[in-house]
Amino acid sequence: MATLAVLCNVSPAHADLDLKFSGLISSDIRYRLYGEPIPIAYPSQAQLPSHGFSRNDNDIKAKLTLSLSDKVKAVADTDLYLYGFSDLHDLDSTTLRPNIDPYRIEVNAAYLDIYKVLPGLDLRVGRQVVVWGAADQFNPTANINTLDFSDALLFGKALANNMVRADYNPKGDWVLTAVWVPVFRPAELPRTAPVALQQLDRPAPVQEGNPRDFFYNEQINPALAPTTVNVVTQVPDVSIQNSQLALRLAGRVLGQDVSLSYYHGRFGIPMPAQTVFHADRTADVGVVWPKEDVIGGDIAGTIERLAGLGYWIEGTVTFPEEITYALYQDRPDGKRNEFRFDPYNDMNVLFGNVVDMMGHYVSPMGQVQDSSGVRPTVVPTTPFLKLTAGADMTLGRHVYVNAQYVHGFVDEFGAGVAMHPLQNPANNCALPGNQVNGKGRPGCENPRIDQRLGDYIVAGMDLKLADDVVLVRLFGVVKLPSLDDTWHLESSWKPTGVLFPQLAWTVTDGTELSVGAFLFLGDRTTKFGDPAAGASEAFLRGKFTY
């Protein structure tokens, strides 16, 4: 890209071509603290031990912006990341530079803007990020791009995707935006995420109690439990039916910024929808990306009577596609048993549903027949609310504070309940060794269940010192007990949260050094103490922006 910039600078194709080149060079060293060891495959040296180096990145970012008068702009934005770990499996790999020094390239933008295609109408075509919403980082209306969860410190960063965006300004401050995304791109999950499906002490995310207990007893029974769990992704077909659409109308009413939006597409994080227990004691878990229709709105402004307090409220109602859970077990005759449940008898298990290799339900005589019973629910069709409401304020010349209430974290989806892993899997009440007369012995542990959509306070402050040269930042998240009339799970609340202290020093223009930590707090059964969420890290970073 630098070469391109130089070439363009020397001999522009158009006399009025304006070229801008910018970027950054950074180094990011992380040390993992008190995590649950998780082996990862690539690069082979980059492991997630209980403690040790977890990241050793260098980033070389280049951004090129080309403008042609006031009519057209083209933007390319690329990061070259050097992992800083080698990927050596054998002697041969030591002869290959890609193994000695692995890298990856991330393209954050590659789009073309055409302004005033028609009066008041702008177009943007290509790889881009569309950010909607008035809240800070927790934007329930921002569904067009999925999120990059690969790095907790990049929290809220969206993954760019190819799309067509049209902005129409009919009058005054009002803008109508339409976005079409031809091909869905799933969210990038943290390296620790597969643990959520591979650790067998976690119940399946099934809403009905009896099926959940039935599945759980199958998966933790030492005589039946799989020795290996493979996760199979059922990615949506690339088709016009699976493209995403979004609309937003934004403007100002009585001095407040307001918007209404609609999104039709999929949620970026996959949900388990089926498990097949094989005869060789392996299990395949299939995951899908649920469809959703989301109606949202936001308002933001300032309250003069409260010393100019800035505020924002952003909320959505999501109408999800129903996701059910299928559990199959291989039979010696090549067919599979499917465990379904009786909706008229407290969802007790029904045996006798046999599926042949063609996918038909068949009788013991091999005749095709209807299935009996139903599959349990992972995501019900019940509409659910996500909400972020917050405010910010400056105190004097040096202090900035920001606080938000969040109902429904960015990774939470669907009405109902969520299941958590055990604090001590060996103490599982469902294990035969921990049972007395068919019941868990005193002191044994059952999986904790709480509301799927949690309630959180996200708050923090910046302290600017030495003419803004030094920034002391402390942000944190605390999960609140959820109040509800349906599940009454307040008593199952356990303290959990995140702390993000940081000290940043602007050494000189465009040059910053920072140290800090991202600390997950809570025991293993909690949202942020769950090993699948990641582990605490301390970091040292240097950045030069050009």
């Binding site: 702008d122 300032t302 800035g310």
Partner: protein, 256 residues
Amino acid sequence: MNVVRSTLALAALTACASAPAARAAAPTAAEILQLADHAASDYADLSFESKMKIFEPGAAAPAKEISFITSIKGDKRLIRFLSPADLKGMGMLIESRDVMYAFLPGFNRIRRLGTHMKSQTLFGSDVSNEETSSNTYAAVYTPRLVGEEGPSWVLELTLNTEKEAEFPKLKMWVDKANHYATKIESFDAAGKGAMTQTRLNFTKDFGDTQHYTPATVTFVDHRRNDHRTEIWNANAKANQKLSDDLFSQRNLARGN
């Protein structure tokens, strides 16, 4: 709106000036402030390039330099930052004293700023967001003529009730000849001198205009041990028929 208001005020002043009885009378404090506001905003639109130099107390060399382009039309201002690199691409849209937006290129989003941000300074300088949001005073302050010093009238401005501003009291030197405010002292609630602003070397803008832009504006913050910020303005162009679309959030999000 300010332009319209100022034009009406000027028309009223002109009418007064043509009356024989009024011709000899010295202008009142309110009239002087209207003249100063009019002089400062006597354009349909304006754009200029600036370099802000931030000095530590007593230092001869700036600790930081920030360059930016400002465009103004009516009450609206658009500021686009050009350097240093970590600010490049950032923009601010000021629609009025109470409505401000920032474009944050790192997050690729526009954020509305609460008016509590008005009293905050720009990037460690001595220039507050409020200072960048307006260059007229009559709507917010009540003036009192307290004297004359050389070529200038000296006004004392008191913040109107139910109006909010960083400083409750100002002292303003207005040049009798061209009506530009050349010096402004700001006082805190206790009446203690907080800031001194000096405007020098007024230079006629390019374009069909009679407006002059100060080539140098110096802010000295006495609360910070005389911490100093100089803004060097250049290439001011007035009445270029800037489009209203330039001052929209949509344009702000387009970046530099």
